[in-house]
Symmetry: D3
Subunit: 339 residues, 6 copies
Amino acid sequence: MNQSHPLMLLSEMEPGQFADSFVLLVSRERATTRDGKPYFRVQFRDHALTATAMVWSDTPWFEDCEAKWAEGEFYKVRARYAESKYGPQLDIDRIRPVNADDTADGFDPGLYYSRSRFASEDMFAELTGIAREQITEIPLQKLVLEILAQYEDQIKTIAAASKNHHAFTGGYLEHVLSVTKTACFLADKYLGYYQQMQPALNKSLVIAGAILHDIGKLTELEYRPHGSRYTPAGRLIGHILLGRDLVREHAARIEDLNPETLLRLEHMIVSHQNLPEWGSPIAPHTPEALLVHYADDIDAKFHMMATTLENILPGNEDEFSGRDNALRRSIFLGLKSTE
Amino acid sequence: MNQSHPLMLLSEMEPGQFADSFVLLVSRERATTRDGKPYFRVQFRDHALTATAMVWSDTPWFEDCEAKWAEGEFYKVRARYAESKYGPQLDIDRIRPVNADDTADGFDPGLYYSRSRFASEDMFAELTGIAREQITEIPLQKLVLEILAQYEDQIKTIAAASKNHHAFTGGYLEHVLSVTKTACFLADKYLGYYQQMQPALNKSLVIAGAILHDIGKLTELEYRPHGSRYTPAGRLIGHILLGRDLVREHAARIEDLNPETLLRLEHMIVSHQNLPEWGSPIAPHTPEALLVHYADDIDAKFHMMATTLENILPGNEDEFSGRDNALRRSIFLGLKSTE
Amino acid sequence: MNQSHPLMLLSEMEPGQFADSFVLLVSRERATTRDGKPYFRVQFRDHALTATAMVWSDTPWFEDCEAKWAEGEFYKVRARYAESKYGPQLDIDRIRPVNADDTADGFDPGLYYSRSRFASEDMFAELTGIAREQITEIPLQKLVLEILAQYEDQIKTIAAASKNHHAFTGGYLEHVLSVTKTACFLADKYLGYYQQMQPALNKSLVIAGAILHDIGKLTELEYRPHGSRYTPAGRLIGHILLGRDLVREHAARIEDLNPETLLRLEHMIVSHQNLPEWGSPIAPHTPEALLVHYADDIDAKFHMMATTLENILPGNEDEFSGRDNALRRSIFLGLKSTE
Amino acid sequence: MNQSHPLMLLSEMEPGQFADSFVLLVSRERATTRDGKPYFRVQFRDHALTATAMVWSDTPWFEDCEAKWAEGEFYKVRARYAESKYGPQLDIDRIRPVNADDTADGFDPGLYYSRSRFASEDMFAELTGIAREQITEIPLQKLVLEILAQYEDQIKTIAAASKNHHAFTGGYLEHVLSVTKTACFLADKYLGYYQQMQPALNKSLVIAGAILHDIGKLTELEYRPHGSRYTPAGRLIGHILLGRDLVREHAARIEDLNPETLLRLEHMIVSHQNLPEWGSPIAPHTPEALLVHYADDIDAKFHMMATTLENILPGNEDEFSGRDNALRRSIFLGLKSTE
Amino acid sequence: MNQSHPLMLLSEMEPGQFADSFVLLVSRERATTRDGKPYFRVQFRDHALTATAMVWSDTPWFEDCEAKWAEGEFYKVRARYAESKYGPQLDIDRIRPVNADDTADGFDPGLYYSRSRFASEDMFAELTGIAREQITEIPLQKLVLEILAQYEDQIKTIAAASKNHHAFTGGYLEHVLSVTKTACFLADKYLGYYQQMQPALNKSLVIAGAILHDIGKLTELEYRPHGSRYTPAGRLIGHILLGRDLVREHAARIEDLNPETLLRLEHMIVSHQNLPEWGSPIAPHTPEALLVHYADDIDAKFHMMATTLENILPGNEDEFSGRDNALRRSIFLGLKSTE
Amino acid sequence: MNQSHPLMLLSEMEPGQFADSFVLLVSRERATTRDGKPYFRVQFRDHALTATAMVWSDTPWFEDCEAKWAEGEFYKVRARYAESKYGPQLDIDRIRPVNADDTADGFDPGLYYSRSRFASEDMFAELTGIAREQITEIPLQKLVLEILAQYEDQIKTIAAASKNHHAFTGGYLEHVLSVTKTACFLADKYLGYYQQMQPALNKSLVIAGAILHDIGKLTELEYRPHGSRYTPAGRLIGHILLGRDLVREHAARIEDLNPETLLRLEHMIVSHQNLPEWGSPIAPHTPEALLVHYADDIDAKFHMMATTLENILPGNEDEFSGRDNALRRSIFLGLKSTE
């Protein structure tokens, strides 16, 4: 391997390869060796791969690491890539913060932070509009609009998950808006079909449930642009219960909210994952809850399949994707022309 | 209990009760007693309950039973109702065919045959229209339209199942049209969202798959206005495989049909029930198959819940339905006013 | 069968048998026949069997049924017993309220209402004492004692379930006290064993969790001396979530309660049924939660087995009980002497 | 490590080891680096291990790789062996095609291609003989013989699977013949036992089903001497459905084939894997289908266990095999002599 | 219904029917009414149905019932048949023991006791012959022959189960012999195929395992000609463990039995039901155990299917059997001629 | 990396790191290369990690390895650590047996052998005391005491498992004593509660069952101070059956032991793992067996959670443990102070 080092994506390095790369620092933990010397365990990533580097106290960059390096910042690193039982490793040879000139070499922070393809402002306005126009039960509308207003910033920003689906900035809102639109379509359609239901299908509830079904994500996950992570309450209680808490707290302040409406809304949140093994202690026992479950489920699953197909590399000639996607399934790409 | 016999619905009779009732004959089987005498085992039903009556050779109506009674005809019967390990029983005291005067007493054949609330003509026209306008891949459109045209009469008539959901005349078409509309909505929506997919979402395929996903029902079930039943091929092979056969046979005659299109269409039929334990040997491996699965699943499940709520008796004061519905679940009806 | 009618327990009557019996009225529903006449569907039971009787408008006791009969009252009935698809039936021949003389014939209301073998006063005092002495984290102790004090009457009275285990008056308290004692024993023992745990096992939390684990039963079930039943919130939300609500509401008023203590307490309630399919959305993730789960589980299961063995009829000669108990299992009774 | 490089099997190399090896090229994919240079990802294997090598554009063998290297050919390679997240890797130092002299050094292509221990000619003749003699229902015999004749070459060659069992040249035929013999034995035996069955056990069907049960493998798998792989139709439709297609196509040309015979034969193919989770949408509903399922299942499972025991290395002193076999189970080898 | 009562099979009586019948008394339990009078609960059956009769102390046959009636004896009864929550009931009008004249009326005790279609003497001789000829490891042969000799009478007599399969006199031996023959066939076949196995397939062990796999049935079940029942040890320990006990006890007396042979034999018994949920704590870990499991499983399942087809009533016109067989599956009977 | 090599724990080495370490030799297997040269595959470990080293015939320490190295002895090794598909590897540079001076450098054999925190003598005396005082059924007491006496040395020494829980010297006795104490507490408590059980809860049996429930571990596992391993009988038969054997053998010598007592004791051993998938062929069918199951289960599961919390490294700042514990679950450690 010669003098000039190739500039590569971290995620494209082969084990043993020695190259330059732009990386994002995502965690930095201090520890101590057996003989009392401090060191750091630092994680770097690009959009697709995370690798760990050990920063020993006798390396030239130890002091910078201790004093200046921070989560969420970018570095240019020259390192050898390796695999281990702890996962991917980087053996650092040189490292410095990214600077203005790096853009010329192709550095693009946008590569590292994925975010929704839709503008949060637009999505939020559309969602609020739906709530205002389609929720005709006024106290319920008020409840939904107050929650949207109070958490507007978070709602516009957070991801829908730490991985699996819509795990990017704005992903929560993208998912919620999409679920709400599908729920709206289904409610309109089935209102027309089944006019003898006692009680009638309540479209206001369907919309409210769709908008609020995942509201517990606000406290289940701690949003960070470089990757969301679970909060302790998120792990010990779960977003379904946390979301119902939030709705109940706000509902207590809406004077004329019908108790049955609130009970039905809580039930929609509690049951939206349908089965105990998927996280819902109780299955949908109302038609509104059933619709929200499906609108949610299809949006999550379709996102998993669609992003798999959006990430097929150009020039790929396989007939199927790999199985390393959220569906754990090979997706069909098409017949080869020669067959 | 006095001399004049009440005129009741079969399904409202209590064990031991003796009453008159209008009933539909649904099966009649000849058998022989140990000492060689012939008898008939006859099943009668109304819209909600089926009961069996034994017609022994020494009864006055044995000859009529042998010579004239037929499946699908109506009778007025005076009988005692009982329960047994063979299920509900009728001990006949008198019986005669329904006649013109019975209408005055409230006899209404419509009660016994349930059918779609929508006109088959209208639904078929709408479905054909969707195929013509939305399937833009011409050979595929041709395939769908030919199948619709060839089986028009059956498609307009048959039920979607022998029980569970849409189990009534026209139910198949009602279900297929509803699935197609949902699939259409989802395809349009996700085409807009995921524009980088390779290959792009194929709306023509989604529509074709939605229209044809259950086409095997044509041979899996033998339609009879008084209740569909499984054919031997339906039980031994199943509608998923039978439907794919039908599509392949017709496809063989469409000259310019792309082999990959056909493979994808077959896969949609094969995978539309999603999981092996639900009947699909293979899960959806294409985005089009995923959409059709969900559009189908939600329509079936919502129908189960909606019909439960449409059949709550007037005056009912319970807060939940019973569990004797296709979802095996108590559906919430609402809080009692006094609570 | 002769003139004098035997006086029997309802649950010992054979189908077709005609006898006198003391019964408890547990429900009374008004309905209307097809031709517009009112009738009542009334349920009677003894300690072991519930049967339904139809009260038609032309019976002598119809007026009394309409005007005077009430749930929770006792009647002496002469009736024929029968089985049907609706379950056990009573065909009433005569009926009157129980009167003072019936005691001489062996009528004992205690037979119909089962209740804990322990005095509620004593159990409540013992439970409160444990909370006061063993919960050494003062704000937590305060929380527990306030909840106990506020709901004292209900806690002393309600059953632990509508069936399955401890389904009798005082059963909730009997179960909670037993769980708390076992949890206390386990906490003491394992505190001694595992002294290096970081953080140490928190006995205060174990006791608090044991006392409060089922507190949601207060709102999940509507207690009635003749049988508890689920409330709508009980069915749509479930006692796990309802119990956590109650604890959180009270905790909000305890000023110095450590947020981590509250989080751990909530987690104990949420996880006490261990597995999603048993009702807990999240499994125990703390040692305290693990202990409460086991203390609860063993008390419920042992109660099921013990009551099966307490209800073996005298003179029984079988080697195993039947399977009609909450464990769905034949319990071994012992070898026959002759074997 | 000294100058003379050891000649080793690829599958016996330790990570970090540098050695010479004869390897089979099994795949070669072209790709492009970030800065636009082409490279190849090439897979080599011996009988037990597959490793990947990267061929960069600045290596001396790049041109040969591009112009001359081909799947299915042999090479002598000097390389360092390594492990990575992508699996085993080869870092090539030198490489050339195998030549005539290599045989003297122990190169044996037979090592790389495993094949049935039985001659395909003999097996095919035996299978055809059984069909001719034991299928006495003539149109059915004709159907079977025509299929055997038409696909003779493929049947004699292909493997039964890409891995799991009989995954070698001729493996399909070896498996089918073995299944047929067992099915024949069972049919004869149970024909003798159960003479009152209505209808009687149909031995012709059992034989036909055994011979054709896996016929879909012809299109599910693409046979290659260096390893079979799934076709798109294999993945999206599956061999059960593909096999039934093939039988139906041929059956359509047999004029006097009884429709019930065909239906039963189709059912045998459809149900031969017994359970939905094993791939059969429908379980065996005929005695013939039941026998074929078992004859197939035992042959596959016994093959897995037998080959584990055939591949125990000489000198092995363990009492159990490892678990890295198709049964995922440690097979007992025997007690150590010293115990 | 007229004066002369029909003579019917108990199992063919409809609820409410009043008829004469020959029945077998299978159990008689004494009990006491609330007011202290003794009565008996007696069970009668024919080959297909068991019904209960109550014998009250004021009936003419009470004294006979107390003093003379015995399990296993036959009676002619005139009674009304009914259904109840306790199952089928007989309301006795007259009853007397069967006498010599009843044969003329068609009484045949053979109808009530089903037994193997093969002579026990012949089967036992054949099984012993196989053991003698095919088990070439002499101490193992000795073990098997001694067990066969010691329990010869029981082996020739008992049923293989209380229901499910081979639940008739001689059924155990019929099943064991059939399993042994299949195991023998498979051992011979695979010995020929897999000659490189280390260690080689041990046919002696296969035969011994097949003969002894179910030997625990001797103590798990108490054989009675009118129906086997589980012993307490059978329920609390199970036939797998009891069978291994029996083999170990005998093996302790065979001096030169190889300890590994005994270990392998025990493992075959322990693992012959393959999966924990089918009763085997450990799955087959030797090729011999695998063969015995399959030989056993197929014989049991084929028996279930075959007896369903042997019991189709003459004149039946259905295309499928009912599901009330041991496989819980409708078996295909054939297409109707008119289809 | 400089001249002086760090002295590290094997389990703290990063891939590629070169360091000195004290290690325990746990296995040594001789093998032969393709060209006939002998080599050894040697496994070394510390308390947390096991790594493999290859000893080739041309290394200076080959002779020592062949002649002197032994399992269970300690070595000081200078080596490079690496990861491979075979797991962790050591590339040895120098190696020598540990000597007296190494203690000064911190070598502590105690680190490598974990053992119970309680003295075996004390635990054994306590267990024997419980048996003597609490088992009041004398022949049963005799049985238990004889077994304890006969296997005293093994009982004091062995581990309860090869991994999972109590997998250290003395672990078996620590676990059994703890289970016995819990069982004792539960028996006392429920004896007081359920005084009407027929038969009464038998405390002697509960104690005996608790002491003997795992007695089969004596033969299931081969104890070695450096790690227990399964015996062939342990794998092929399992500790549940082996433990029952041992009890039955001893019971045969206790003259006046009640057969029912023995049957109940055997059942407790057989059922103590509760479910087939956990290893018990039969679930608890007696109250004594139920208590022993729970006392055992909670002790095992609490041990898993407690040791996870005992092994959190000092200075750890995470809110949850990892999932690499026997419960496969992240255990909550506490909120971070800053939150």
